[in-house]
């Protein structure tokens, strides 16, 4: 099953360990990572992507990809804000997703339609509080227990959203650009 995930950590360093672990699981064939990145919400509510100095050519694409993914994970409330935040990228050292998206993913998705509640219960809405860091990724997994065990061991809280017809109907098949790092990268601290 193809899944969008966010694994939230209160420690920045644990998120970096988790990113490495995610790609190790891929290397071992336990799951498949299509793309991943680390995002952090600072004390001002801004969300930034931990990138590398060498990402000049793909900074915008990754910012848009992460913005879309955060919107997906945050639920319908986050959709517009995710896109708007992603469009307002900063060209600073770290890739910015913008305060607007940061605000949206801090919200509970109260606007979910009643007929989506059942799905919502299984796919808890992603929230990223001030000072927290998350690994966001698109993965394929055959057993959820593998990721659960690995990330729980590191102290992470996992949020999942299935990449299926329902999600695509709600968000549009091309809402998320699919652009994250397609391999492990040594993310900068910021």
């Amino acid at each position: 099953m193809n899944t969008y995930i966010a694994v939230v950590f209160s420690s920045n360093s644990q998120a970096h360990v988790a990113l490495r672990k995610l790609w190790d699981l891929d290397e071992a064939g336990e799951l498949t990572v299509h793309g991943a990145a680390i995002v952090r919400r600072d004390d001002m509510g801004h969300i930034r992507v931990a990138d590398r100095d060498s990402d000049l050519g793909m900074r915008t694409a990754i910012g848009v990809g992460v913005g879309g993914l955060l919107g997906l994970l945050a639920g319908p409330v986050g959709v517009a804000a995710g896109v708007a935040g992603a469009a307002a990228l900063s060209a600073g050292v770290a890739t910015g997703v913008g305060a607007l998206a940061g605000g949206a993913v801090g919200l509970t998705a109260d606007a979910v339609k009643e007929n989506k509640r059942e799905n919502a219960a299984a796919e808890a809405f992603f929230t990223l509080k001030h000072g927290q860091t998350a690994v966001v990724a698109e993965i394929s997994e055959d057993w959820t227990s593998i990721l659960d065990d690995a990330m729980n061991h590191l102290g992470g809280t996992i949020y999942r959203r299935l990449n299926n017809a329902d999600t695509n109907a709600a968000f549009g098949a091309n809402y998320y650009s699919g652009y994250l790092y397609p391999y492990y990268y040594d993310a900068m601290d910021y």
């Binding site: 193809n2 498949t32 060498s54 000049l56 050519g57 394929s140 055959d142 699919g178 397609p182």
Partner: protein, 138 residues
């Protein structure tokens, strides 16, 4: 490496490595040369050839995804070839444009390949799962 890699997994590694190399070349814009771009183009061409060979083993959706990725790889490689004829006149903007096209196509290739790898792993998981369950029952 913790387990033997399939051809598909190795081809995916090639796509990921190509993406890394292009990103590094773009970051080193001050020292980027047309010769480096030509070398990346050769890698892109080799990747397209490997993907063509692997495409026949894919299901319909996978085949379509591979076809689109291969077309993108070939288009980006062609862009470099066309420019190479007047390489002496190539300016930084041309090099950046060629690299951006190669980066985009290698990303598309990496995604198509990771989807194919995931599908192959799922097939394997389904084949193993009943045996695992049987072992637990026993």
């Amino acid at each position: 490496m913790t387990k033997p890699q399939s051809v598909l997994e190795m081809t995916r590694h090639d796509a990921q490595d190509l993406h890394k190399k292009i990103a590094a070349d773009m970051a080193d814009a001050g020292h980027a040369t047309w010769a480096k771009v030509k070398a990346l183009q050769a890698d892109a061409h080799a990747l397209a050839t490997k993907m063509k060979a692997a495409a026949s083993d894919q299901a319909d959706a996978g085949k379509a995804s591979f076809k689109a990725a291969i077309a993108k790889l070939e288009a980006s490689a062609k862009l470099v070839e066309d420019k190479a004829t007047d390489a002496k006149d190539a300016v930084t903007a041309d090099i950046h444009r060629a690299n951006a096209a190669l980066l985009d196509s290698s990303h598309r290739a990496a995604l198509s390949l990771s989807a194919a790898v995931a599908e192959a792993r799922t097939k394997l998981a389904k084949a193993i799962a009943p045996k695992k369950a049987a072992r637990v029952m026993a």
